[in-house]
Each structure stands twice: as structure tokens, then as C-alpha cells.
Subunit: 328 residues, 2 copies
């Protein structure tokens, strides 16, 4: 990995630019959307012309965030930007095909992320794997260099941090995470309202998915692995929307015997998305995902496999069980 | 409510005493157990002879907390104490019948709590309804007066605070809450381990209860009220233990249309325990619970009613629906 740039260099590049694209990974989660909008809104307040772009747009469960109405999906028209910033995206390709094609025309690319596997594909890089969320890196960047932070920026960065730490429960959470939230509350941020919007505003159809999960979850390795196959027919019956499954895996994590949980999900093109979590620091699920071309964090990782879902699940779970038995 | 004592008066009374009983309410939750042990362990480190007593003992889901092996249930033998401290207990009776009988012999009673309905039944009182947890009051009392705080004290007070704020999501959470956690992490507390033990260590039978809830939840008032009746037969089939249902209601809170959720639960003596939550600050569920002899907080409240469960649910839900329709 190339050495990180200084935050001063990165802020100087932002200040020098006039038209800036801020992007994140496909299938954006709370940290991706919150980081993109937190930074975009701050740079706009600084007088910059900022394009907030997400290959897959904003999922319905995050639409409440201020600024989401300004997020665009990539077209074919050149952006005419003099700076591109990729956030929370471990590999350049993960910004999405169309987005990447547009970014390639930018004279300068900045890569800011907390995924340890990020190789530093920018001309300027700020990869901080010890931070629990890219949103936390952005907050410290903005506050450390006196860039504008208003309530809308805070809302976005709070959601980025809160979702990527599992509401401050994951081991990546640090003392600074809590101090940032305290600072945000001092400044008047209503965190309870945001927590309610993100954690307590699920459509009933999400509970239907959860019900299917509880009815069809499967255990192996003496209960240490639990998995669920979310099939197309169930999604169709529930009328599933993007974002509906976010956090469902945490319900499987809750089981005391479990050290690893996996959700397999039918996705277009006959493929299967794999989301896996480890509850034991000795078990590295990103290593298992890497066997199938995926990656992520040690305790939270993903992959895409060829379907059908039953065969993909079988292959993945065999590899996972092998790893689980190694830590016995 | 009588005026609060100063924290200096309360700490002076603790320092003067030699044999102290620390108690909390029946059916203790995380804040009750964590506050009792947080304070008891600190006073023991100060050289006091401390009886940590809970009428119903420690529920299985909290048994991991340091010091729980020293918690006793009340017998009939006098305690020979010169100070009694009731924590997190809104009325004196809520410590439990046997416990109260033993405390009545104490020459001095201190009442420390965050329930707004607490009348201040101690000789010394510290009722701070703006704090999200009694554990937060205890932490500030200990740290503000230089009383001993070690890792075991921190573990107990962290669990008190984390559980009573719904992992920092409830509106009662304040900036100080986050700063306390940051201080605890600076001192080396492993909050992720504790979060895993409390939120991700549920027995499979808990998921069976959740499955029953998702299969049998009922909506009324156009989806603004959701409720579930946990019947004895389901508890028996799942082999339910105390603590298994804690937090289950949060899954019902998640539904976007919902402003109030209620769980009715068969309890011994043909009675029904009612647990209710509000998601709208204009809706005061404690007022509804008060109609049935219960109480608590505006957004989280409970009551006990006469069974059978279907009739109790019907009566309570009618009263609740009346309140919900008033905020239209």
C-alpha cells in the first residue's frame, strides 16, 4: 500500500478544485451514503460545485438524509470535473462501471477509506483501517481543518458512523467515536431522531423477511455457524426494496452458540450475494470470502458467487466450516 | 417531590457507614443489576461491608457481569446494616416485599434513581430524571467524588447505561453519556466484548420467541399500534428463562408505521405484565399505564393487570388507542 497523504495535502487539493465528484461503492450502505453527502455538503458550503454520485442511487431506507435529493446516478455525459473523490470503496472498480468510466477523465483522484484491503488507488490516499467508519475519517478531516460542518453534514456523518459501528457495538468502535457523537450532540444534533429513522423505521415487509429468516435459518458445526438463503420468490412475495435486508444479519449474530453467520441472497444475473460476519477475532471471514473472489473486514465481509443459491451456500459453508474448525 | 440531597451529603453518608445494603427493583434489568454492582463493588473497594441484594436475583442474561456471584436474595435474618441504598426503583415497594421488610430496619435510606415518578422516599434522595440511566448517575457520583472505579465497576455501569439507552439510541441519551463511555474506553474497558455478551449472546429459544412474535403480532389504529401476547404455552414450549424477552419489544418498535408497541405476558398468579413503548414524544404511554396502576417513563412504561391475557390486552389497547387518536 502506498503511504498515506497528509490530511493537509488532501484538504489543499479539495480547496484548489472547483468542480468535484464525490462517489462511493455500489449498493451503498449508511457509511457510503453518509460519507458522500457529509463531504459533498461541506464542500458545497465552501463554494464548490459538487456532484454527489452513486452508481446505484440512494436506498429507500436512507432517503431521509439531507441532500439525498441531490445525489445523481452516472450517465454518459462527461462530468467536467477537476477532482474526483472515492469514499469507503476498497477497490477502484467497486465505484461501479459507469461511475469509474466518468471518473477516469478526472485529472486527480483522492481515495479515502477504512477498509484494510484498500490498495490506495488514488493519486492522494487516506486509508485508516483503525477507524470504524469512513464517516469518522471525514468528520475528523473536516473538523481538523476548519471545513464547514452544519447540522446536515452532522446528520450524514452520524448515520455513517452509527450504522458502520452497529450502533457503537462493534469492536472497531473507539473512544474518539463516542467523543465525536458527544461533540455533535453539543452542537444540537438530535441523534435519537436519526436512530429512530434508521433503526426503527422499517417497513412491515422487512419483518416478513425476518420471519422467513427465523423459519428457515440453518445451523451447522454444532450451532457455531448459522445461515439463511434469501430466495427470489421470498423477495418477490414481500415486495422487497434495496436496503430492506440491511442489519438483518445482526439478528443471527445474536445467537449465543454462533461464531459465524452468513446470508446468501439471489441477485440478478443468476448470481448470489454472500454476507458474512464473525463473532470471534480468531475467525477471519474475509479470508473465506477471498476464496470466492470477495473481501472486506476480518469480522464483516462479503463475496459474489455463481448460483444456484443452494450450491453456492454449500460451497461457501464448507469452506467456512473448515476455518471454524481450525480455531477449535 | 422533596428536594434532592447534594451528592456530597450522599457520599458522606456512604463513607460514614460500615455495613451497607444496595438494592434495586424486582425483575431487575441491566440498569438495576449494573447500578447495584457498580456501586457495591466501588464501596467494597473502599473497605465497606456491602450486601448486594436483589429480590429476584440476577437474570441469566446478566450473569456474565463481575460480582453477580456475590448478589444475594433476601432471607428473613436481619441484615445488621447501618445504611440501605435503593437504586433505579421508582417506589419503595418495588424493591420487593422481603427486601423492603429487611431495609425497614436500616437507620438510613438513600434513594438514587432516574425515574421521574420517584417521590423521593429516602432520607437522602438523588432523583435525576434527565439522566438516561441510574448507572450514569452512579458513574458521575463515583468519579465526581473520587470513589474507587476499576474495570469491574466500569463493566457494570457500562451495561447499565448501554441497556437503558437501547445502545445509545433512545432520546434520553445525552452528550455526557457518550463522554462517559469514551472515558471508560480510555481506561481500557472492552465495550465490544460487553456488547457482544449482552446483545449477541441470546439462546436460540429467544429467536423462537421472536418467531412467535412475528407470526402473531397484531396491528390496530391503522398500523400505529402493534402488540403481541406472549402466552404461557409458548413460554413453556420454548423453555423460556427470565431475561429472554428483554429487548424483544425493540423489534416491534422498528416498524415504520408504529407509534406505540405493547407486549402482554402471562405471569404467575393469573396476572399479565404489560410493557409499552412510545415512538412519538406527544404520546405518553406512562399515562396509559397509570390507568391500570402502572407507570414508568413517558416513552417506556409498564403495568400489571388481571388476566386472562386476551381481556387485559383488549382493555389496555382500547385505552392506548384512545391516546394515539388524540395526537392525530
Amino acid at each position: 500500500m502506498p503511504a498515506n497523504s497528509t490530511t493537509a495535502e488532501i484538504v489543499a487539493a479539495m480547496r484548489s478544485a472547483q468542480r468535484i465528484a464525490v462517489v462511493a461503492h455500489v449498493r451503498p450502505d449508511g457509511d457510503a451514503v453518509g460519507s458522500v453527502l457529509g463531504l459533498a455538503l461541506s464542500l458545497r458550503a465552501l463554494g464548490k460545485d459538487v456532484i454527489a454520485m452513486l452508481e446505484d442511487g440512494v436506498p429507500a431506507n436512507l432517503a431521509f438524509l439531507p441532500g439525498t435529493d441531490t445525489v445523481i446516478q452516472p450517465g454518459t455525459e462527461p462530468l467536467g470535473i477537476d477532482l474526483a473523490i472515492a469514499l469507503d470503496t476498497a477497490t477502484h472498480e467497486r465505484v461501479g462501471e459507469k461511475t469509474k468510466a466518468l471518473l477516469d477523465a478526472a485529472p486527480l483522484l483522492i481515495d479515502i477509506d477504512h477498509h484494510p484491503a484498500n490498495p490506495g488507488y488514488g493519486a492522494l490516499n487516506l486509508i485508516v483501517p483503525t477507524e470504524p467508519a469512513t464517516g469518522q475519517i471525514i468528520y475528523d478531516l473536516l473538523s481538523g481543518h476548519g471545513l464547514p460542518i452544519d447540522d446536515a453534514v452532522r446528520q450524514n456523518l452520524f448515520i455513517a458512523i452509527s450504522t458502520d459501528t452497529g450502533s457503537f457495538q462493534y469492536s472497531s468502535t473507539n473512544a474518539r467515536t463516542h467523543r465525536i457523537v458527544a461533540e455533535m450532540m453539543d452542537a444540537g444534533l438530535d441523534t435519537a431522531r436519526l436512530a429512530q429513522l434508521i433503526y426503527q423505521s422499517y417497513p412491515v415487509r422487512r419483518l416478513e423477511l425476518m420471519r422467513d429468516m427465523l423459519n428457515h435459518m440453518e445451523f451447522r458445526a454444532e450451532g457455531r455457524i448459522v445461515s439463511w438463503q434469501l430466495k427470489q420468490a421470498v423477495m418477490d412475495a414481500a415486495g422487497m426494496q434495496p436496503g430492506d435486508t440491511e442489519g438483518l444479519i445482526d439478528t443471527l449474530r445474536m445467537i449465543d452458540s454462533v461464531v459465524a453467520c452468513v446470508i446468501f441472497e439471489d441477485i440478478p444475473g443468476g448470481k448470489v450475494r454472500v454476507s458474512s460476519r464473525s463473532k470471534d477475532s480468531r475467525l477471519d471471514v474475509s479470508a473465506v470470502c477471498a476464496q470466492f473472489g470477495g473481501g472486506g473486514h476480518r469480522m464483516a465481509s462479503g463475496a459474489r458467487m455463481r448460483g444456484p443459491i443452494e450450491a453456492a451456500a454449500d460451497k461457501f459453508l464448507q469452506a467456512l466450516e473448515h476455518e471454524v474448525r481450525r480455531i477449535d
